[in-house]
């Protein structure tokens, strides 16, 4: 158990953060160039220069390129038809085709976006060249990415992984601990002692509360060392919230274990809750894009609040005033789950 407590956060932080990245690199591209003109060559050289793409191969025909998608050898096919350059010069309008493998929808969308950008750049370059540098009128937009100027995806994922880690510690370990006592029979021995139910439950809460806060500290330290995670907010605010959050999930974990007889049951139910909590919380996807029902359900999801708070405090530098709503909601959940665990624990049957 003890090594698990140390190894779990380390593995999660190192493996998961890198695995869960949404940054696209090395998208494999196959170009079927039927035009073989200077424009098509310009496009290919731009692809080669981009860090996102890896030019896999030049196919001789569209069919051959598509076959490569079928065989999972390439992600994107660019088909440049026979007279793209001459069409462009004659009619000021030419077409090329981009085919993406949309098994992984987000990857397909992203690579399409990157490619569109490259083509747009190409267009601009050609028009500037042809109009011999007369001033081109256009509206240019410039994006500023606040709080994460380099769009470092790890800064987005690290707090999420920490929040999930604390949930696992809080919910799984406590739930397993109490039901294990039932399984090996120590609960029976404890039940015939004069110990009060509330004392017993508090005895189960406190150690995991301490372990949880310790894990948070460990995860923060590791993130700072390994990834140089910015800590812009007040850590005290984060710890105060984490304390309340742990109470809420510990209550849920204990409640699950009072209702279960075996460790298998506890595992099944905890997994169910963990999956729902994580997927709804916005750890990987934006909550704003979810259906209204899911957004409403998130009001009951303590992890949703924690996910918001940990990102806001660490990245945005939010203070206590900014997280009042989340704090209040989580406190309310804790005020329900902990007494629920106490009252549902039965010494007599």
């Amino acid at each position: 158990m003890l090594p698990l407590i140390f190894v779990l956060p380390l593995v999660q932080l190192i493996v998961l953060v890198n695995a869960a990245t949404m940054d696209m690199k090395n998208i494999s591209v196959t170009v079927a160039d039927k035009d073989l003109s200077s424009t098509s060559r310009l496009l290919i050289s731009k692809l080669e220069a981009s860090p996102f793409f890896k030019l896999e191969d030049l196919a001789l025909s569209k069919e051959e390129a598509i076959e490569r998608i079928q065989d999972n050898k390439t992600d994107v096919v660019i088909f440049i038809p026979h007279n793209m350059e001459s069409d462009f010069n004659r009619e000021g309008n030419a077409k090329l085709q981009i085919i993406t493998d949309a098994i992984d929808a987000s990857k397909a969308q992203l690579s399409f976006g990157y490619l569109s950008n490259i083509v747009r750049g190409l267009n601009l370059e050609i028009s500037i060249e042809q109009q011999l540098l007369t001033d081109v009128k256009q509206i240019k937009s410039e994006a500023l990415y606040w709080f994460n100027p380099n769009l470092n995806y790890k800064y987005y994922m690290l707090p999420a992984i920490m929040a999930i880690l604390l949930t696992i510690i809080g919910m799984f370990l406590t739930a397993l601990n109490l039901v294990r006592e039932k399984e090996i029979g120590t609960a029976e021995q404890i039940n015939v002692t004069p110990i009060k139910k509330s004392h017993f439950i508090i005895g189960k809460l406190v150690p995991f509360l301490i372990i949880g806060l310790f894990e948070l500290t460990l995860a923060l330290t590791l993130s700072k060392i390994i990834y140089d995670l910015p800590i812009n907010g007040n850590l005290l605010v984060l710890y105060a919230f984490a304390f309340v959050y742990l109470l809420a999930v510990l209550g849920i974990g204990l409640f699950i274990s009072t209702q279960s007889q075996t460790q298998q049951q506890v595992m099944m139910i905890s997994f169910f809750f963990l999956l729902v909590f994580v997927l709804l919380s916005g750890a990987f996807t934006s909550v704003d894009n979810m259906p209204v029902l899911a957004q409403e359900l998130n009001r009951l999801n303590p992890l949703y609040y924690f996910m918001n708070v940990i990102r806001m405090v660490l990245i945005k530098g939010a203070g206590f005033r900014d997280i009042m709503v989340e704090f209040g909601s989580t406190l309310l959940i804790a005020c329900i789950t902990v007494p629920l665990a106490v009252f549902s624990y039965r010494k007599t049957s």
């Binding site: 090996i184 029979g185 120590t186 609960a187 029976e188 021995q189 404890i190 039940n191 015939v192 002692t193 004069p194 110990i195 010494k347 007599t348 049957s349």
Partner: protein, 302 residues
């Protein structure tokens, strides 16, 4: 005094305890004897306030385990059938823990457990999970005694313990009884019944007899024969089909036989066995022991 008045308890479709009424005197060493599934554990768990009876009343030194469970838990030392102390705590830590939970200290009641604890004290830093069966049992008994209970409730304490440890354990119980503690013990072993002041024979949730072991044996008036034969199984079959046979069952290496007639002679049985072409060594009249009584009682009821 402990009183059971018409206690019933069912689990779904199983009638685990079916109308049990009996009294146990203070200071008595009382045994519940019966096979697995007789309802002994269920009865114990109702006495120690872990289960609520469907029907009937229990009075434990004037306390009701349902309503006054808090007081009941203070005066009971319960040792469940399955070893249920903390495996990762050492002997000393377990004892310390249970003393604290009951609001007392090891020192305050050390005199009660001294004889038992001394035997395991050399290993007091060893985790309870790594102890042998006999040592676990001694530790469990120490933990059940540490708060000086008035009633010691032992659920099959000797199951899975070797013969020497079992004898030692019963010697310890005798000593505790001398200290004025009421002891209620359940066991599936008939030979242990003889060591109790009084026993209750229990089967299928019912009590068949409550009496001192000697009295139970004395009540057994029918002549009982021990028959040593060459082929136990064939002889058993043949005797069962005999019209005079009341009951016959294997008992160790021999068969025990009860006849319907009161004046039956060993010669009659020998003659019958010969007529069935069965080879026998001897047929002799013997004194029944408690196990024979138990089988006879359950046979009559069944």
């Amino acid at each position: 005094m402990i009183e059971f008045k018409n206690i019933h308890k069912s689990f779904e479709d199983v009638h685990a305890v079916d109308g049990v009424s009996l009294n146990i005197e203070e200071g008595e060493l009382f045994g519940f004897i019966g096979p697995d599934g007789a309802g002994k554990t269920t009865l114990f768990r109702m006495l120690n306030s872990l289960l609520i009876p469907d029907e009937g009343e229990i009075s434990l030194f004037g306390l009701d385990p349902v309503k006054e469970y808090k007081k009941v838990r203070q005066i009971i030392g319960y040792m469940p059938g399955k070893f249920s102390l903390y495996y990762d705590l050492s002997i000393e830590e377990n004892l310390q823990f249970f003393a604290t939970v009951f609001g007392t200290t090891i020192e305050a009641n050390y005199h009660l457990i001294e004889d038992i604890y001394k035997q395991i004290e050399p290993f007091k830093n060893r985790p309870a999970g790594k102890l042998s069966g006999g040592m676990k049992q001694k530790l469990a008994l120490s933990c059940a005694l540490i708060h000086k209970p008035r009633l010691l409730l032992l659920d099959e304490p000797t199951t899975g313990v070797d013969a020497v440890s079992r004898r030692e354990f019963w010697e310890m119980l005798q000593k505790l009884k001398e200290k004025g503690i009421t002891i209620v013990v359940s066991t599936p072993y008939m030979d242990e019944a003889g060591l109790c002041d009084r026993v209750a024979l229990m089967q299928n949730g019912k009590i068949h007899a409550v009496a001192p072991p000697s009295e139970i044996v004395a009540q057994f008036s029918d002549p009982l024969y021990s028959i040593k034969v060459e082929n136990n199984y064939k002889s058993l079959q043949a005797l069962r089909q005999w019209e005079h046979c009341e009951n016959v069952y294997p008992f160790g290496e021999t068969l025990h036989y009860l006849d319907k007639r009161n004046d039956v002679d060993g010669k009659d049985i020998e003659a019958y066995l010969s007529s069935q072409q069965l080879v026998f060594d001897h047929v002799e009249l013997i004194q029944p022991d408690i196990e024979d009584c138990f089988i006879a009682l359950t046979h009559k009821v069944g």
